[in-house]
């Protein structure tokens, strides 16, 4: 496979994952805004931070409003992580690696792009937002379905998966980091209704409410949220899960190519350290510090993948 193709596959799936995550954050923001009594827009501030591009937003707007935040996240061409920018980039990469994709996957991707482009051609009003988010969710799900259902399990698939899980780990970690202060044990003592909403908003942002309920019941507690989103090995968006997948797919490449790589070693070290982690140790170390160090490690793995598999030279 060409290095350029590996690069395109990796960014195709990363961008697609990013589009989904951004849409999910917009959804969470809207839900929280609707269930809160005070009309303040400050929830959108932390949503924007979690979605990345906070500085870019502030440079163009100066203040945070619901409408501007949603528009920034869904459509803004100035925001490289907006749903529209991400879907465009995913499709651009798909065009570049067209020969590596099955017809079904390409058509799902191209169809996703056309539908989302049309849906986001104009500002999305409050009334149309649920339908629009639903469309983004189902269109990206179709691409994922076509990928799983039709692509050979070879190096092409491995690069797609590596991109997906690197992006997802990065996103989950950033969401936790934006709200880390409300998850600190001291905050648990407060235990007011307002904090409950805050905690739930975190679960909402990673589509984890249902999963959390199944595992931990209906009581929402910060320690268990951290346990669930960082350490749970069944939760498909947890850091533990994502790291083990990244490692797994890098190992497939190592076996397939018969070449040991630095990135596979790094991923293995990261995965086993997350796997062995105890939730109390994370708090002792400092939640924010832990997440920051995780974000650094995961970025290092990503950079090493680019080098090992000759993405650029």
């Amino acid at each position: 496979m060409l290095g350029k193709t590996a690069n395109g596959l990796y960014w195709l799936s990363r961008s697609l994952e990013r589009a989904e995550n951004t849409a999910r954050l917009a959804d969470a923001g809207q839900r929280i805004a609707l269930t809160r009594l005070s009309g303040a827009d400050d929830e959108w501030g932390s949503i924007l931070q979690a979605a990345g591009g906070w500085d870019g937003y502030m440079a163009g707007h100066g203040e945070v409003t619901r409408d501007d935040a949603i528009d920034w996240m869904l459509r803004s061409p100035d925001n490289p992580s907006s749903v529209l920018s991400s879907i465009k980039s995913a499709r651009q990469n798909a065009r570049m690696v067209r020969t590596a994709l099955t017809e079904e996957m390409w058509e799902a991707m191209n169809g996703c792009y056309m539908a989302v482009r049309d849906a986001l051609a104009r500002k999305v009003g409050e009334r149309d937002l649920p339908e629009c988010l639903q469309l983004i969710r189902s269109r990206t799900a179709l691409v994922r379905g076509a990928t799983h259902g039709t692509m050979l399990r070879n190096d092409i698939y491995d690069f797609l998966r590596i991109g997906t899980f690197l992006e997802r780990a990065d996103s989950t970690a950033r969401i936790l980091d934006v709200k880390y202060y409300i998850l600190l044990p001291a905050a648990a003592a407060v235990g007011s209704d307002l904090d409950n909403v805050q905690w739930e908003s975190i679960l909402e942002s990673v589509s984890a409410r249902g999963g959390y309920r199944m595992v931990h019941g209906s009581r929402v507690r910060p320690q268990e949220i951290v346990q669930f989103l960082i350490l749970d090995k069944r939760m498909p968006r947890s850091l533990n899960f994502c790291c083990s997948k990244i490692h797994e797919n890098l190992r497939y490449l190592v076996n397939d190519y018969g070449q040991q790589t630095e990135s596979a070693d790094m991923a293995e070290r990261l995965a086993s350290s997350v796997r062995a982690q105890e939730v109390d140790d994370i708090f002792d170390y400092g939640l924010h510090e832990y997440i920051q160090s995780f974000l650094g490690s995961i970025a290092d793995v990503g950079r090493q993948v680019e080098v090992d598999y000759r993405f650029y030279e």
Partner: protein, 489 residues
Amino acid sequence: MQRIVFAGFRGKAGVMTETTPFDEMWGKGDSLRGPYSAFQEWFDGEDHSRLRAKQREAEDVFRLTGITFNVYGRSEAEERLIPFDIIPRIISAQEWQRLSRGIEQRVRALNAFLHDIYNRQEIVKAGRVPLDMLKRNAAFLPQMCGVTPPGGVYTHIVGIDLVRTGDDEFFVLEDNARTPSGVSYMLENRETMLQMFPELFSRTRVQPVQNYPRDLRRSLGACAPIGAGEDPTVAVLTPGIYNSAYFEHAFLADQMGVELVEGHDLQVVDGRVAMRTTQGYQPIDVLYRRVDDDFLDPLNFNPDSALGVPGIMDVYRAGGITIANAPGTGIADDKAIYSYMPEIVEFYTGEKAILQNVPTWRCNEPDSLKYVLDNLKDLVVKEVHGSGGYGMLIGPAASRKELAEFRKKLEARPGNYIAQPTLSLSTVPIFTRKGLAPRHVDLRPFVLVSPDKVNITPGGLTRVALKKGSLVVNSSQGGGTKDTWVLGD
């Protein structure tokens, strides 16, 4: 019988005033032509609203599969669809046989011509083509002198543009010996028709075109350098996703099961051209390039090119890679050389050309220039090096102002132009809201050349001018396409 019809000439002595063009379905309007009889029977039984729905369905399919082309000079995001018309263009087996013979003869002559002018230049010595035509021609590459490509093949892939003016009259309009495009439309159009109207194919025997990608792979493989082994490594070189024909480049690579590479994926490693893979550099035996000569090698040609591979020409000259088509083949489809094609065919094959040339005035010759200037409103004037229908004047359709402006250009640089009569191109019906309506068409059959074989796919790309009366079939200027059927014996 030679009978060129000059459309639009108004009663000049010696010129026929013929207004109704030859229709490939209805002839001169009186009776249904043989190749269309089965189709006509089917069409009569069809409900037009169903056909309209099918036509829309076809466009949706094209959009989804991404069979689009990028329009130059517009925003980079713009991808347009080439309109597809559901009425097939049908050619009988006998007509095709004759065409094939003519095409094969022409392609063999083109290759012989290329070999000759880059080596001994016998045709110049014989006085049949002036040396000036080569020397002062940008398409002639001195770097190719004395180089013989692997297998002796220069034009591996050719797309000869033909037009028809009557029952038995075909003319070659252009030879497209560099990097002809459009073959993906030939394949996708057929695929679409098969999906939409399977019943039509079960009642008519249409020769298949679907083997093209396999034939292309085999043909390219057969031209690999000596020592390439049993299964040569082939790759398609594209300028990238913003190129107007990117879809086709990806399509062909995909269908052949080979890599689609860009210049920055390639590098000269140990005297071979190699592509950067996830496992290191892998040498390439045959490069099907869809990049122009000038951009192929910044060390040997345009130094600013980022699309090519530095040093590829040195590897090529040393016999380390096959480049298809060979650099410098453009000289053979140059519009000024075109006018010499009857002589060229005769010189190398010893036979008269089976396919006719359109009479061509070379404006660098004073007598011709005078004639062209005197008759500008009746002629088609083309730039010698232009393509895609750009920079062209269609006299009968031009306004006074356009004629005056073009006259100035011609007087300033006569050597830059050739002129031809406006041929009355044949028509084939398209499906419109009001039913069938005749529109002008041309035909581009696709030819593969390997050392042992000339392979012509039965069919090709039919381009159709969708505007009533229009003669411009180029996709960049409002043309559409049709499926092209060659009937079985």
